[in-house]
């Protein structure tokens, strides 16, 4: 059985811990890395090749949108799930 490798990028440790707890309960999902900011997310995506990146938009250093662009530029096959507290459409373009 192959597991889905996940990278969680969020500047808040409570959120990262929440996702780790939530996803950790699933048999076929593994959180392979966490990132605290956009730069770290880009770097860890390149290093760990996760199948899915859970990406917060509002992060220090580099915001989630720009980090997503860079991850997709480096690996067009990457899957990035953008998370916001509010699903405002205007974030996504």
């Amino acid at each position: 059985m192959t597991t889905i490798r996940v990278l969680v990028a969020d500047d808040q440790s409570m959120i990262r811990a929440g996702f780790r707890m939530l996803l950790g309960g699933e048999q076929d999902i593994e959180v392979v890395a966490e990132a605290q900011n956009g730069l770290e997310a880009v770097e860890k995506a390149a290093r760990f090749h996760p199948a899915v990146v859970l990406m917060d938009i509002r992060m220090p250093e580099l915001d989630g949108l720009e980090a997503t662009r860079r991850i997709l530029a480096a690996d067009p096959g990457a899957r990035v799930l953008i998370l916001t507290t509010f699903d405002l459409d205007e974030y996504i373009y």
Binding site: D11, Q12, M14, I15, A17, G18, F19, M21, L22, G25, E26, I57, R58, M59, P60, D63, G64, L65, E66, T85, F86, L88, E90, Y91
Partner: protein
Amino acid sequence: MIRLRSLAREHGLDVLIVLAAVESAAELAVRRDAPDAPTTTLWFTVPAVALVILTLLGRRRVPFGAPAALWLLAGALSFADGRLVPFTFSVTVAGIAAALLFGQLREVEARLGLAIVIGGAAIVVFNDPDHTAGEFIFTPALFAIAWVAGVALRERAGRAEAAEVRAVQAERERDTASRIAVAEERARIARELHDIVAHAVSVMVLHVGAIRHRLPDELDTDREALHEVERTGRTALAEMRALLGALRREGDAVELEPQPGLDRVEALLDEVRRAGLPVDLHVEGEPQSLPPALDLSAYRIVQEGLTNALKHARAGHAEVTVRYGPDEVQIVVRDDGAGVSPGNDPGYGLAGMQERVKIYGGEMSAGSDNGGGFVLRTRLPLAGGRS
């Protein structure tokens, strides 16, 4: 006393006018044997002269009619007795006063008044049997000067009035701008607070969801209870989203950065330094983590203080002090700029900060520093809120 003075101010001139009429009557009686005395009887001259002078009493009700009546009467009387009008000192003074009143009227009336004054003066001079040729020039010229003085007075009063109107308007604009600044800051605080609370709720929902997923199947009542907590949280988030939508302004930039706190002050200072203002940071006491909303407001206060220093103060150096106490945090932003002086308003942002500080039950003072420059001091209690 005050009443007397205001009475004197209001009616002082009227009293003088009556006194002038009495003076001219007395002069006519006392000097009736003088060589240049009027030839007609006192029964005619005294009431006639008094009537000429007393026309000025009507100057408020008929601003044009009163001085016009004075000059027309004087001109008419000079036909009856050529010596009567030039004889008494008071009539000359009253004529000057009438010319002055004409000068203060609106343009057309003032010009017509000048014509009446010059014409009247010329007639009076002409009818005076003792007149010299020079008096045809000098007598009307004397009254024309009084008229010019009246014009000047009117213009000065007009300028003073215009200046007052401008001052009142400027004050009203300042007032409005300050109220807008406060309202905008309140909306901003509300947005930030909702943002912070929504974030906290989403963390709660996420964690509850994670725990629910891990609970073993046999605890299904517990799972259902947690599910209910999640649903309530999601509903709260949806409502919060609607509220936040109402608080957002058209054209608000999409926020891509997390809400800042005091831990971001160093980065803020770097920005200020890049903008050309050297600034130092002093942290005193034991730094502690603040509640997010308070942390954010503390950051905004530092930001506002430095913005003022950059924009208004023409400062060469600024200093930020963050002092952590056991139950409060103090923030002092000081610069060595121009301080508060007329024409150097520290900006409406301060009114907004005042609003922010009030929410947390803190205190704020802003003003010129003893050693020059501007200082913004705030104290935020850590207990938070107005309770």
